[in-house]
Amino acid sequence: MSEKEQDTQVSGGVGGTLRRLGRVLTEGRAGSLLVILMIAAIWIFFQIMNANFLSPANLTNLMLQNVAVATISIGVVLILLLGEIDLSVGSVSGLCAAVMAVLIVNHNTSPMLAMLAALATGAAIGLFTGFMITRFRIPSFVITLAGLLLWEGLQLYVLGATGTVNLPNNLVTKLTSTFFSPLAGWIIAVLAIVCMCGLAFLGRARRRRAGLPAGPMRAQAIRLVLVGAAMIAAIVVFNKDRGLPLAVVIVVGLALVFVYVTEQTRFGRHIFAVGGNAEAARRAGIRIDRVRIIVFVLASALAAGGGILAASRLLAVNQSSGGSDLLLMAIAGPVIAGTSLFGGRGSVWSALLGALVIGSIANGMDLMSLSASVKFMVTGGVLILAVTLEAATRLRRQTED
């Protein structure tokens, strides 16, 4: 409704078109479009700076570099939707990876069991954090800040005197070094596209049968074509290098699971409700403390999953695993891609898109051999840009009310 009103207010001409574009971008409804434009701009820029940037080998590496951050970011999105923050996800990922590596190398545990132990460690930490937040009403900012130190200390302790545990070639390292054959890649892509179109068609058919408006067909068709084209392009590029990486399939699969949980289940609806208005959620009979605890458990388990993938890629766990800028990248990504820091607004997809934005910038600057100082400043600048856009969206929403 308000969209139409605003469109009529905007005058014609070039200025009007620009202003309308600005509106669309700051309204937050075209959230993912803005991020995709951002990624395109970043890729074009780095391709101009370094001709290797868009090569199949580098793009495949770019994806593999980002699977860990993207996995952690999925958990961060869940936390942000609640209106909470988790500053300990980085060190949780490091600690859980250390637990896994030590179990495998020093205790001869099977890789599968060790990975499960790492995930369980993460879940236990999340349970602790969630318990402290709900039982003692400690702000999540404070308790996870303490956790950041606590878990990192525990990680150093677990790793022992040498401080580094190298992983032998096993199931864990295979996670990020397995690639599908070109044919298998195509089959996966075609199946994904067929499922996507089928679901969209079924959804429209169900709404029509129920006598409800199905929404603009053209917009949905355009979206399907764009996503399908992106998938085909990705397979072409992956197949020119080593093939579709297993790790990418794992991360996209995780994202799909949590998109379903947040958007189609009661639990997901309750996460949004708690993030939007916790008091209203409580009065509606939602057990908000239980929702909070489960979300912290899921987020910490996902952080552990990210830690496993990072260890798999590094072929080792050391004292800096889960440290340095991992935490900031994992939180900045979703925020750049449109998930609100104030709760109740956002999407699990922003975890993947955000990781792609930040990862592309990091990868491009590595290719240009820029120093860490420049990299930090640029990433910080992009984050400021993103939160400013989000703040503008929020202000507009408030004035609309």
Binding site: R207, L212, T265, A284, E400
Partner: protein
């Protein structure tokens, strides 16, 4: 206002009103917020509860809603004695409350707000992995709004953040009706609304009355009270000082009862906090 005949939800005899309270008292330390107050509302009746700040309106409403227990007093539903010791009790008895802050989630759709905490699932889905039946919720939301003659809301997929104050009030009232209650308590439903929106909300209140609900409205706005209420109950300093049939009473009489001028007490008597 909908003009199709709506069957009364409940039938009560004249002798036993839908909801009745007898001798309700509440003390906060040395302060008596309510002293031996009787209260009653009948099916198909709108009762306005008026009084100055600190008169005990909120305390009384909270006692009925089960949010804050009173020290003394007996409750009757259709003549049968009942106890209300928690919001759940009130809910089970068919008493629902719409608070002034409405308790809506701005970031959710209208139908998501209506069904918040009572989501419906696709057949055969379990409560945890459950696939929400959005189509069913959307359809019945539209039907419900239509049955209440709420014509200002067309798209139940709109976010509540984009609604006007009157539309929000309509959503909150509609939600309170999902559990098919028999008594609805409305806390300042027209506060901070414009003229047109106030009219819409008052129409909605009339629709509730036509459906045979007992409606209790707390309001500071006497103009709205006179427009929609059947009876006016005046509280002052924790006691029930007057009851008026809205026909045959003037604004001045009600104001006099609220301020206590008619009863010989100074209007600026010590205020009692709630």
């Amino acid at each position: 206002m909908g003009d199709e005949p709506v069957p009364a939800v409940t039938a009560t005899t004249a002798a036993s009103p839908l909801l009745a309270l007898k001798g309700v008292s509440k003390r906060f330390g040395p302060l008596e917020a309510l002293t031996g107050v009787d209260f009653e509302v009948d099916a198909g009746e709108v009762v306005a509860l008026v009084g100055d700040n600190g008169a005990g309106k909120s305390t009384l409403i909270k006692a009925i809603a089960g949010v804050q227990l009173c020290d003394e007093g007996t409750f009757f539903m259709r003549g049968t004695e009942v106890t209300i010791s928690s919001p759940k009790d009130a809910d089970a008895l068919g008493i629902t409350t719409v608070y002034q802050d409405l308790a809506l989630c701005d970031n959710l759709d209208i139908f998501a707000n209506l069904y918040l905490g009572h989501e419906r699932f696709v057949k055969n889905a379990t409560r945890f992995t459950g696939y929400l039946d959005e189509i069913e919720m959307e359809k019945s939301s539209l039907k419900l709004l239509e049955s209440l003659a709420v014509t200002t809301i067309k798209d139940v997929r709109a976010h509540v953040a984009s609604l006007s104050g009157g539309q929000r009030q309509a959503v909150a009232i509609t939600r309170s009706l999902l559990g098919e209650p028999s008594v609805v308590l409305l806390d300042e439903p027209t506060a901070a609304l414009g003229v047109v929106q106030t009219k819409q909300v008052l129409n909605l209140i009339r629709t509730l009355r036509e459906r045979g609900l007992g409606v209790v409205v707390i309001s500071h706005n006497l103009a709205d009270v006179f427009e929609v209420a059947d009876r006016i109950i005046v509280l002052r300093l924790g006691g029930r000082v007057a009851t008026f049939d809205v026909k045959g009473v003037s604004h001045e009489d009600v104001v006099a009862a609220i301020t206590g001028a008619e009863f010989g007490a100074a209007p600026d008597e010590v205020e009692e906090p709630t």
